[in-house]
């Protein structure tokens, strides 16, 4: 079944390793939806989270290919619906004076916050699952969305499941 799946990759935080991992994803023609990369709690290691829209076999094969990249320390595909999966979005939206209150209601409904407020536009910060973020952006479109920046999805396994615990 084709659904969004998070593949989490721990790799050495060097350009060449990231380049290699991302190059592999392109070369293997994987159906990638988003990429996010950033530091981890372990110095020298980054986490690359790849959201792919695929069946289980494709996600597992992506992991097997990634595990072969020198500099990749661990890779795992979360089963669909498992793990904590989040993304952050900044949405610049028109905020005409007469609809200001209505707009703030929407922001509140989605548990979002206003991080920049100028004469006729504001930037709304929100986070959640991809579906939640998309739903919020749709709600804001009524006011006129000017620009969107999304972080791409990041994920962690829930409970005691510690990916970095498998590191040598």
């Amino acid at each position: 079944m084709t659904v969004a799946r998070a593949v989490s990759v721990l790799l050495e935080d060097r350009w060449i390793t990231l380049n290699r991992a991302v190059g592999l994803i392109r070369r293997r023609n994987l159906p990638v939806h988003s990429l996010a990369v950033g530091p981890t709690a372990t110095p020298g290691l980054s986490r690359l989270t790849i959201m792919i829209h695929s069946d289980t076999a494709t996600a597992d094969r992506a992991v097997q290919h990634l595990q072969k990249v020198v500099g990749v320390r661990a890779a795992v595909a979360f089963p669909a619906g498992e793990g904590v999966v989040r993304e952050l979005a900044l949405v610049k939206v028109r905020a005409p004076h007469e609809r200001y209150g209505e707009l703030l209601d929407v922001v509140q409904l989605y548990n979002a916050s206003v991080v920049d407020d100028s004469a006729d536009a504001m930037i709304v910060e929100l986070s959640g699952s991809e579906a939640f973020v998309l739903s919020c952006i749709r709600a804001l479109e009524r006011f006129g969305v000017v620009e969107v920046a999304r972080s791409g999805t990041i994920a962690l396994g829930s409970g005691n499941d510690i990916q970095s615990g498998t590191l040598p």
Binding site: R20, K68, G71
Partner: protein
């Protein structure tokens, strides 16, 4: 006591530490410090090629023949980019090649300096690993890592790019004390052996199957599983199919040997696959040239797939049981679980699928006649290196390979121009037996400049050219699928005998079958390189042929009827 050396000296010592005895290369600006140091290390023989592509192919040939990493060296920029085809060839066929390239000095990098190119970026998708050496302190480690990564697990090419100033930098020789972190990591993540249940289930399927087949690929050669494959086949009576790169993994004279499958596989081999109820795939990747249309591939067969690389299991073909591991190691465990059985009714059925070959060649100079001549003249004691195209299929199917790893060719990438330079590497790895490089007239002309290398270095490669005046395989496709429009396939050749003479080597032209064996015999005993041109039928085809996109059940066995012309 510590010793301070230049980066170039460290590189030479590290290569010697890895057991390297020969390098194929070409000097240039950014690799000059290395070439300056090289004469201090007479244990490293340098073979000056005429084009860097040949250096990569020669290193590849050396690796395939010796089982040890082959090494090629080039300068930055064009030198490095010329290696690319050879590295891609080694990558597709899993050959351990270590490529060393010079790079412009660090201060110049990223500024489009003269002969600067991002060879790390360029070769990333066609190497198993590559690395820019950013400081001389890393160098010894980088070389150890390169050889480790190239040869461990599923082999492949590794490139190390060394800026010119790093080659001149000085550092202490650590004497092989360093252990690469990345390399250590690879070892630690090596897969645990498969659970015994996989092996037991495989043994059960093998015991129960009525129409089983073994498909043996390159993994059999890479792991040296010759005896184990033979034991598997003989204990169970299961016939063995060898893929293009699996050829010479199983003796062709063996009654259980069936032949090559796929696009140009014999009809009985492909029919056996289509009728099979069990396929035991050993170290192959079910390439599209082997399977034909996947939807129609072996629909009645369960598949047991043995491969070292877990990402290969189920990649192309659905698998009942995947056994991850070195083919030889897996077969050793599996053999313990297998009881003696036979497959006589199935073998009789397959024998009924066999079709007689009916090719007609001018002067009787058929591919069989030529290959029989080579077989006869060398008593089968030779290495055959083939190029790509029609002759490659004939050489794969018609030579009677008896000895392990005696057939070398570019399978995955299908690199024309491979045979002549690769054969140089094979010849240096196997100085005690004749090496025949067999090419078509197209492929030969792609790298024939290497005759000069052979002469200068005294590398005794015997070259055979199947000359039909066409890029034969493309012409065959044009004949079958493009209405005989022979666009850009007729190809002129020089007078090869006089060309040989110009290079100072012996050359012959053979136009009939009765000359073939005596000429091959003469060429084989001739000291040094020799060239034999075989003038063959111009429009001969390789039969049978599965049309591209077709299933193994749809072979073309003779010239297809011309397409109907619309009225």
């Amino acid at each position: 006591m510590t010793e301070t050396l230049t980066g170039s000296q460290i590189l030479c010592r590290a290569l010697l530490d890895q057991g390297v005895d020969v390098l194929f290369g070409y000097p240039g600006g950014a690799i000059m410090p290395f070439y300056h140091a090289l004469p201090e290390y007479p244990g490293l023989r340098h073979v000056l090629v005429r084009h860097e592509q040949a250096a990569a192919h020669a290193a590849d040939g050396y690796a395939r023949a010796s089982g040890r990493a082959g090494v090629c060296v080039a300068t930055s920029g064009p030198g490095a980019t010329n290696l690319v085809t050879g590295l891609a060839t080694a990558n597709m066929d899993n050959t351990p090649v270590v490529a060393i390239t010079g790079q412009v000095a660090r201060a110049m990098m990223g500024r489009d300096a003269f002969q600067e190119t991002d060879i790390i970026g360029i070769t990333q998708p066609i190497t198993k690993h590559n690395r820019l050496v950013e400081d001389v302190e890393e160098l010894e480690d980088a070389v150890a890592e390169a050889f480790y990564v190239a040869q461990e697990g599923r082999p492949g090419p590794v490139l190390i790019d060394i800026p010119k100033d790093v080659q001149n930098q000085k550092a202490e020789w650590k004497g092989g004390q360093s252990v690469s972190r990345s390399a250590g990591h690879l070892e630690s993540t090596a897969r645990p052996p498969d659970r015994p249940s996989g092996l037991e289930n495989a043994a059960r399927l093998i015991a129960e199957a009525e129409r089983p087949l073994i498909m043996a690929g390159h993994g059999v050669l890479l792991s040296g599983a010759y005896a184990e494959l033979r034991a598997l086949s003989e204990r169970t009576g299961i016939p063995v199919i060898t893929t293009l790169l699996g050829i010479s993994g199983f003796p062709e004279s063996h009654p259980l040997h069936l032949g090559m499958p796929g696009m140009h596989g014999e009809v009985h081999v492909n029919r056996a696959i289509q009728q099979a109820d069990l396929i035991i795939g050993l170290g192959l990747r079910f390439d599209d040239r082997v399977t034909g249309n996947l939807a129609g591939f072996a629909r009645g067969a369960k598949v047991i797939h043995v491969d070292l690389d877990p990402s290969e299991i189920g990649k192309n073909v659905p698998v009942e049981i995947g056994l991850v591991g070195d083919v030889r190691a897996v077969l050793c465990s599996l053999l313990d679980l297998l009881v003696q059985r036979h497959c006589d009714p199935w073998r009789e059925e397959i024998a009924g699928f066999v079709r007689p070959r009916q090719d007609n060649f001018r002067g009787g100079l058929s591919p069989e006649a030529i290959l029989d001549a080579i077989d006869g003249a060398t008593s089968g004691r030779c290495s055959i290196v083939s190029d790509v195209g029609q002759h490659q299929m004939w050489v794969a199917k018609l030579f009677r390979y008896q000895r392990p790893n005696s057939h070398i060719t570019s399978g995955g990438l299908g690199t024309m121009g491979f045979a002549v330079p690769a054969a140089m590497g094979v010849a240096l790895a196997r100085p005690d037996e004749p090496v025949w490089a067999i090419s078509g007239d197209g492929g030969f002309q792609m790298n024939m400049q290497e005759m000069a290398t052979m002469v200068q270095e005294g590398i005794p490669v015997k070259m055979a050219i199947f000359n039909n005046g066409y890029l034969g395989m493309v012409r065959q496709w044009q004949q079958f699928f493009h209405g005989k429009r022979y666009s850009a396939t007729p190809i002129w050749s020089p007078d090869y005998v006089r060309l040989a003479e110009a290079y100072g080597i012996a050359g012959w032209r053979v136009e009939s079958a009765d000359q073939a064996e005596s000429v091959v015999r003469e060429a084989t005993v001739q000291p040094g390189p020799a060239l034999v041109e075989f003038v063959i039928e111009q429009e001969a085809n390789v039969y049978p042929m599965i049309p591209p996109g077709g299933s193994l059940s749809e072979p073309i066995e003779g010239e297809p009827a011309p397409p109907l012309v619309p009225a």
